[in-house]
């Protein structure tokens, strides 16, 4: 069979196909409603839901809940009749499957292991995702766009969240499920998996580009300077920009919110930056220390 068909019809992967369809559908629906409300806002008209009246819960709401419950139950039942849950061989610690994949919703994090050491990819970054999500209501001080779909009133919030959700979370999951084969090597869906395939990529560390051994003291210092200037520069640059162009915003944010926002943002952006460094320039580490590597 065509490997592509084979891969998307694997029982567990059907869930991913359903996820892609559902997420795409609701993404389009959300943005379509957002743009529709934006047009109403531009015309000075009330947005969808603003003129809502109250209706009885019994029965309009109870009825629609019941209908949804029945539809979901029918859908799950059909899915369960049509597709059987896989059961592989009994667990055997001596036979390691290749690739050994985490559950699908963690494959984005597993993908990060290509670019970061486990303490970052598996512990620090996931924790920061949770912290960042928890922080959203407290760092987003824009009072607009509360209770209705809109894009124009909260462009940056939506763009940053969408980048994190659709690209860094969902796209990496899809890559992990469909494009990663033995040895976590990249396989196009139409390529056969080849267990003997070895890709030799002579990765380097950043400092060796300028001829400094990354494990030497000068290498350590240069690496520390690069990482430090990314963090410090990333912290200062927006401050100076806003100080000049939008000082009211800075005053409204206050120092604690500002530092939290920028720290979370530059941490998030370090992921695509490190991906480009690794994939395009074959750079493994930027900074090597006796305790950890970045």
């Amino acid at each position: 069979m065509n490997p592509f068909i084979e891969i998307i019809t694997q029982p567990d992967n059907i869930a991913i196909v359903i996820m892609i369809i559902m997420v795409t559908f609701f993404m389009v629906w959300a943005f379509q409603q957002a743009f529709q409300n934006d047009r109403l806002l531009a015309a000075g008209l009330p947005v969808d839901g603003e003129k809502d009246k109250f209706v009885d819960t019994f029965k309009p709401l109870v009825r629609i809940e019941l209908i949804i419950a029945i539809v979901v139950m029918v859908g799950l039942t059909v899915w369960s009749i049509a597709v059987d849950a896989p059961l592989e061989e009994i667990a055997n610690p001596t036979i390691t499957p290749n690739p050994a994949k985490a559950p699908w919703y963690f494959l984005g994090l597993q993908e990060l292991l290509v670019y970061f050491d486990p303490w970052l990819a598996g512990v620090v970054l996931p924790s920061l995702i949770v912290v960042g999500l928890l922080a959203i209501p407290y760092i987003d001080i824009n009072p607009k766009g509360n209770g209705y779909y809109t894009f124009s009133e909260r462009k940056y919030a939506i763009m940053i969240f969408s980048f994190g959700f659709f690209v860094l979370w969902l796209l990496l999951i899809v890559i992990g499920v469909f494009f990663r084969g033995p040895g976590w090597l990249w396989y196009w869906p139409w390529q056969e998996w080849d267990h003997a395939r070895v890709v030799f990529e002579p990765t380097k560390d950043l400092t060796s580009l300028i001829g400094v051994d990354s494990r030497s003291l000068p290498g350590f210092i240069i690496g520390a300077l690069v990482v430090g200037s990314y963090l410090v520069g990333g912290m200062i640059a927006p401050y100076r920009y806003w100080k000049k162009n939008n000082p009211e915003l800075l005053a409204k944010l206050g120092i604690v919110r500002y530092v939290t926002i920028i720290f979370l943002f530059i941490t998030m952006m370090s992921i695509p930056i490190k991906m480009v460094l690794r994939l395009v320039f074959l750079i493994k580490y930027i900074w090597i220390t006796p305790w950890f590597n970045v």
Partner: protein
């Protein structure tokens, strides 16, 4: 059929009927309200809601669908527990028995498996909807936080269930997942700075998760208890708070400009 109204009338005057349904339902304002607050399951709702709450396009029903998926999983999960022993000798053969011995065992397991995938998908879409409508903004900041914890708990519920069939897929998925615990800074034996705390493979985070240095019988028991008892309990408590706060924060968010 002529006598049907007479029969229903008689039934409704019966002592047992009247003890269950305290009053007759006539379609008036008072009885429509009574139908909600007189019912333990329905009184989660207010008596009246805004129109957006009954239109699909605003909420997509995603929070409710997530809750419904959870209920489905609790019911199928409880039935599955009747057929399952969390030991390495029996776990795998119990799953095989579902296939060959238990009536409708295959569909039971499929419902639980696909329901779990489904719940993870819809809870993420629910979060996306709440973000896109700005519903985390005042006064709902705290409830967004509860939701984030429920999202994480949903992942953990699914993750801990992965090991229970004791097959290669679950075994290695859990091995890969818990190996991350070993990389925790300070508290994992491979993590940065852990040597200063004298952390070894036998006293680190991973050991606590697995109840051993490898995925074995203790890990199976631990994941089973987390999966069937501990995490569902925590989730249910947080769901109470989540639903309660939806009401107390004013129901489905409405445009505030």
């Amino acid at each position: 059929m002529k006598r049907l109204p007479e029969i229903t009338d008689k039934v409704k005057r019966n002592l047992i009927w009247k003890s269950i349904f305290r009053r007759d339902y006539r379609n008036n304002v008072r009885d429509r309200a009574q139908a909600i607050f007189g019912n333990v399951f329905l009184h989660l709702h207010p008596v009246q809601v805004r129109e957006s709450a009954v239109k699909l396009r605003f909420t997509w029903g995603m929070g409710g669908i997530t809750f419904f998926a959870f209920i489905t999983l609790v019911i199928t999960g409880v039935v599955l527990m009747f057929y399952y022993h969390p030991t390495i000798d029996q776990a795998y053969t119990d799953i095989k028995d579902l296939e060959f011995q238990v009536p409708f065992g295959v569909i039971l397991r499929n419902l639980h498996r696909w329901g779990a995938h489904f719940m993870v998908i819809v809870v993420m879409i629910h979060m996306f909807r709440v973000f896109m409508t700005g519903s985390y903004k005042a006064p709902r900041q705290f409830n967004w936080g509860i939701g984030v914890f429920l999202l994480v708990l949903t992942f953990l519920l699914s993750f801990t269930g992965y090991l229970t069939p004791w097959d290669q897929l679950g075994f290695w998925a859990i091995t890969v997942g818990t190996n991350m615990g070993a990389a925790t800074p300070l508290l994992g034996y491979q993590g940065p700075f852990s040597e200063y705390l004298h952390i070894t493979p036998y006293n680190d985070v991973r050991f606590a998760l697995l109840g051993g240095a490898q995925v074995g019988g203790n890990a199976l028991l631990r994941s089973y208890i987390w999966h069937c008892v501990a995490i569902p309990l925590i989730s249910i408590i947080l769901m109470f708070v989540h639903f309660w706060r939806v009401r107390k924060d004013g129901g489905i968010s409405k445009p505030q400009k």
